[in-house]
Amino acid sequence: MGSERRKALSRYRYFLPLIFVVFCISRPLTIAGETETAKEAVFHREHLNVLVALIVFCAFFFYFLFRSRKGRALYLRKIPGIRAIEEAVGRATEMGKPVLFVPGIDDIDEIQTLAGIAILSHVARIVARYDSSIIVPTRKSIVMTVCEETVKESFTAAGRPDAYRGDNIRYLSDDQFAYTVGVDGIMLREKPVANIYMGAFYAESLILSETGFSSGAIQVAGTASLSQLPFFIAACDYTLIAEEFYAASAYLSKDPKVLSSIKASDYFKIVTILVLVAGIILVNVKPEWVEMFKFWF
């Protein structure tokens, strides 16, 4: 009965997104018809530099994706902070204490939160493999829902769905400092021996990491919030700085498809450096080209 129902459902698997698409398109279509008279440039010329950069990046991305599908291995340099995560989870298992994972304080529309959640899935898998436990306090309810699904899927993928504890994925508060105090409370009461901070952080970064330090936990942080990086570097054992943070999930997954995006960003960085050097030379040789270079950067 169950399998018949599933078959019947799978027949309509594209029906739901179709309704979604039709609903989203129908209203703007009527609005577009009413405002057809507006005469404005179709293309945002001021975004041309971004479009060119995106096309170049995508070219590298698909090239390395194609290469990885052919089975060619992609090399990534070792990042000590990422290797320390496994070590920290191992220590937590030995001591019978939980691992604390803080996915930043921004909402799900922030790319750093998404990158943090991608890392969470790998950390949760390691935790499940080691038969340890993980606590994930969140500041936004959507982030909490996504973290719940992520941790549940990781435990299932590691073959330990029974070890998943839904109560460990907690929504604390939308208020920044109420959330901070809540996480500090977890650190002091439940004494996790590994604190992992991955995501977007603001003024609470040092309050969290100093409390973690005073509780004696191993601390690994990763963020692209530049103003908070010095605090994490001062208070944590390992810190993933900006692009290392974005590369961490690819590094942990070892999936060639994911690694190809890291390779693409490395090559794109080379292109950027070359363009910058060319720009410096041209601006010094031909100062009248300064405006042109301002347009591109």
Binding site: P28, A32, H47, I117, A118, F177, E210
Partner: protein
């Protein structure tokens, strides 16, 4: 498969329209993208119910089973219910929760001072973190100590009183080596953002879905 493909298709659809909106000024594209953004806002607003349910489920269970620290959980649930209750009461009786309302009173005289107290702790934490960070254990740490000391002295009136060069030196450290380093990080982070964005839009990285 249904649970994997449908969210990926929705992600691709939304992601592509957001990118198109950034580059093109076409009323239809803008309309669809704006509509999707509205849907996002509605989803965000609805999700608060899930958050409240999570708080009640986890904390009430601890209270019922008299687990460790259960009195704190009562305080938490009570505070949440009082704030929500007073807010709703004000909405019904006054029609808003603006200045002069009971909700605003609780917010201004309880929540704001508590937040300010936690924020103020930062000053002490900065001192303890700086004490550890500024120990000259190796050449790099020594460089950090020297440059930080110069910036700190140069940014206070005492620095200018000692020598007029110190504020200029502090400004130079902030404007040249510091800015150069920060720009390098920004460029690297921007590439990480593009790579992560593409991985998510094309469904290559989907930790929250089955089959990853």
């Amino acid at each position: 498969m249904l649970q994997v493909r449908v969210p990926i298709l929705i992600t691709i659809f939304v992601g592509v329209f957001m990118i198109l909106k950034f580059f093109f000024h076409v009323p239809f594209i803008k309309g669809v993208a704006d509509e999707l953004e509205q849907w996002c806002l509605v989803a965000f607003a609805m999700a608060i119910v899930l958050g409240v349910a999570n708080i009640l489920r986890i904390n009430l269970r601890v209270v019922m089973k008299r687990r460790k620290d259960w009195p704190y959980k009562i305080v938490l649930v009570f505070s949440m219910l009082v704030m929500a209750g007073v807010g709703l009461f004000d909405l019904i009786t006054r029609g808003d929760v603006s200045v002069g309302s009971r909700f605003q009173y609780l917010f201004e005289y309880i929540l704001t001072p508590l937040s300010a107290t936690v924020f103020a702790l930062l000053a002490f934490y900065i001192s303890s973190a700086a004490f550890r960070a500024f120990r000259a254990r190796n050449i790099r740490a020594a460089l950090l100590l020297i440059s930080a000391s110069l910036v700190m002295i140069g940014r206070v009136p005492l620095g200018a009183a000692i020598s007029g060069t110190l504020p200029k030196l502090a400004d130079w450290i902030m404007a040249v080596p510091n800015t150069a380093g920060q720009r390098g990080l920004i460029i690297g982070a921007a590439m990480g953002v593009i790579a992560t964005g593409l991985r998510i839009i094309f469904g290559i990285e989907r930790p929250y879905l089955k089959g990853e």
